[in-house]
């Protein structure tokens, strides 16, 4: 079932085009890693899919176009890159915000809401500090609280903008496992990320963006080739195989490529 279908999407910030003719589709059961160098347009793509950035093109959510913001919120949960929490509210209150689109009229969440909030907190291992002020948490703890908030929204599709940044390796793995689990439950996750090793190991599919265009889209082994890493990222990497997945370990800047100029090195447009 198609949860999100984007076709011929164009986004410009002022006169500068950020996304050019982007098309892809996300179906239930997928864990899509959105990868690409800084400035490739990953965050903009996620925001545009939600209607947060003005765009041209067709966006269908669960097969429907032109949804109200409220209807959209029931189908897509979004985890912003920005992790600023304005007020010293409790951890539990932040997570409970995820239930807002479901319209339980009072913050006294009904039994169903409570169950989902508890589950989200348990999954992110934050139930132990549910009463602490969210503004007092460490960066990693705060990230987990915000992920739990997005989980509590209980939408079929989760768009997450660099959810793993700031997390220690064990919590990164917990997060990846969780996203894979959500996918296996019949939901879908699209997460932008920089850690190619994590992306290769956990995602069912990768979309590689460069200069606002999709350069490659497919299974990790198909997308992450040595040549593409060189042309898009400008790096040499060790690509290997382990018992249960692919291994990608960046080693060095590619020969003859200056890190600052890698962006101009791309040449392939297959997908």
């Amino acid at each position: 079932m198609s949860l999100l279908s984007v076709s011929n999407l164009h986004v410009a910030l002022g006169a500068r085009p950020v996304l050019k003719d982007v098309s892809f589709e996300v179906t239930a059961g997928e864990f899509v890693g959105l990868i690409g160098p800084n400035g490739a347009g990953k965050s903009t793509l996620l925001r545009a899919a939600l209607g947060l950035a003005p765009s041209r093109g067709r966006i269908a959510i669960g097969g429907d176009e032109g949804l109200s913001s409220r209807q959209r919120a029931l189908r897509i949960a979004y985890l912003a890159q920005e992790r600023d929490i304005a007020w010293p509210v409790s951890v539990e209150a932040v997570v409970a915000l995820g239930r807002a689109p479901h319209g339980s009229a009072f913050s006294n969440a009904a039994a169903q809401d409570r169950r989902i909030i508890e589950q989200a907190m348990r999954r992110m291992e934050i139930a132990a500090f549910r009463d602490r002020q969210a503004t007092q948490l460490s960066g990693g703890e705060k990230a987990r609280v915000l992920i739990a908030r997005a989980l509590a929204q209980d939408a079929p599709l989760l768009l997450a903008d660099e959810p793993a940044s700031g997390l220690d390796p064990s919590h990164q793995i917990v997060l990846m496992r969780l996203f894979a689990e959500l996918a296996s439950e019949g939901r879908a996750v699209v997460a932008s990320m920089h850690d190619l090793g994590m992306a290769a190991r956990w995602c069912s599919r990768l979309i590689l963006l460069d200069h606002g265009m999709i350069v490659a889209d497919g299974a990790p082994r198909a997308v992450l080739t040595a040549e593409r890493l060189r042309s898009v990222y400008g790096i040499e990497a060790h690509l290997g195989e382990a018992a249960d997945g692919m291994i990608v370990q960046p080693l060095d800047i590619a020969a003859g490529v200056d890190a600052a100029t890698t962006q101009s090195g791309k040449e392939q447009h297959d997908g």
Partner: protein, 333 residues
């Protein structure tokens, strides 16, 4: 659950304090009238001096104290939640000063004498302009510094224009009335003022009160809030016009009263678990209690001197503001 229970207790205490202060406000005044006499005169059919004083002088004063205080507390909490900024407040953003300017133009040109509704409408217009200017300068993600600096500029300009309008008035008393417009007073306001301002304040309250859940969501930023189904345009409309209608009407009849909208939400925030939606009703009640207290104090401290309300609110509010700036200065730059 205990969280919710504590919130209800806080609201109950604030409501009780507001009721007590409202009654106390009715019993304070230059004419020494006993507690029992004064309250019974409110409900008697007599038309003697005491009944006249109670119904036509003290009752409107207490009602306006309550409503204006609630307006300032509520709008302070709403603006802080909307701009995600603890220093937002109608006074600091220049909303009060601009509403004063609107009111001054309406009154001293004689416009409001011909068309009474012109007074609150002109104040509302001034207030809307101020919010738009500050917001245009700072933007929805605007930093604290931009917001405060634009507020300072708007306030200074509106203050200067108010002074100019008063100086140009052919009535020699007008020039002296800058004090009223900058510091506010409830002395000898009448029921006419209540009828004029109350509808606008009520409409403004309704608009601001409806923001609760959206402000909660905005705690996590505007993108996240929007992704949760919050319509940011609608929120902006309600915040701007709700503030302008209520603060505009309040300022039109009582002048600009500063700092209530800053201090009250801050003191109450920890008591309601910092949730913007819960802060709204609490700040409205807290603002009412604070302004009623200030208005009682101006009558007790300096009877017959017509001490301005803004003097008292600034004595408490300005040091508090400095302390807040000191505490948040790392985020300022």
């Amino acid at each position: 659950m205990t969280d919710t229970a504590r919130y209800r207790v806080v609201l109950a205490i604030l409501a009780a304090a507001t009721v007590v202060l409202f009654l106390l406000s009715l019993t304070v005044g230059p004419a020494a009238i006993g507690l029992g006499d004064s309250l019974s005169a409110l409900f008697s059919d007599k038309r003697d001096a005491i009944a006249l004083i109670m119904r036509e002088i003290r009752l409107p004063r207490a009602i306006l104290g309550l409503m204006i205080g609630a307006t300032l507390g509520l709008s302070g909490a709403a603006l802080q939640g909307w701009l995600r900024n603890p220093l937002a407040e109608p006074g600091l953003l220049g909303v009060s000063a601009s509403a004063s300017l609107g009111a001054v133009i309406a009154i001293y040109t004689g416009f409001s004498a011909l068309f009474p509704l012109g007074l609150p409408l002109a104040a509302l217009g001034g207030a809307v302009l101020a919010v738009f200017v500050v917001q245009a300068m700072a933007g929805l993600r605007g930093g604290t510094l931009t917001i405060i600096l634009s507020g300072v500029a708007v306030s200074a300009f509106a203050g200067a224009m108010t002074s100019l309008a008063l100086n140009l008035s052919p009535n020699p008393f007008a020039a002296l009335e800058i004090m009223f417009w900058m510091l506010g007073s409830l002395t000898d306001r009448s029921m006419t003022h209540v009828w004029l301002a109350a509808p606008f304040m009520l409409v403004g309250w309704a608009m601001l009160a409806s923001l609760g859940r959206a402000l909660d969501a905005l705690t996590l930023g505007s993108d996240t809030a929007a992704s949760m189904g919050v319509n940011l345009r609608r929120v902006q409309f309600l915040a701007v016009f709700g503030t302008a209608a209520s603060v505009g009407a309040a300022t039109a009849v009582a002048g600009a009263i500063g700092f209530v909208g800053l201090v009250v939400p801050h003191i109450l925030r920890p008591l309601v678990g910092a949730r913007p939606s819960r802060l709204l009703p609490a700040s409205a009640l807290g603002g009412a209690a604070v302004l009623l207290t200030a208005d009682i104090l101006v009558r007790v401290i300096a009877p017959g001197r017509d001490l301005k309300l803004g003097v008292l609110t600034a004595i408490v509010g300005a040091p508090f503001f400095l302390w807040l700036v000191y505490r948040t200065r790392r985020q300022l730059l």
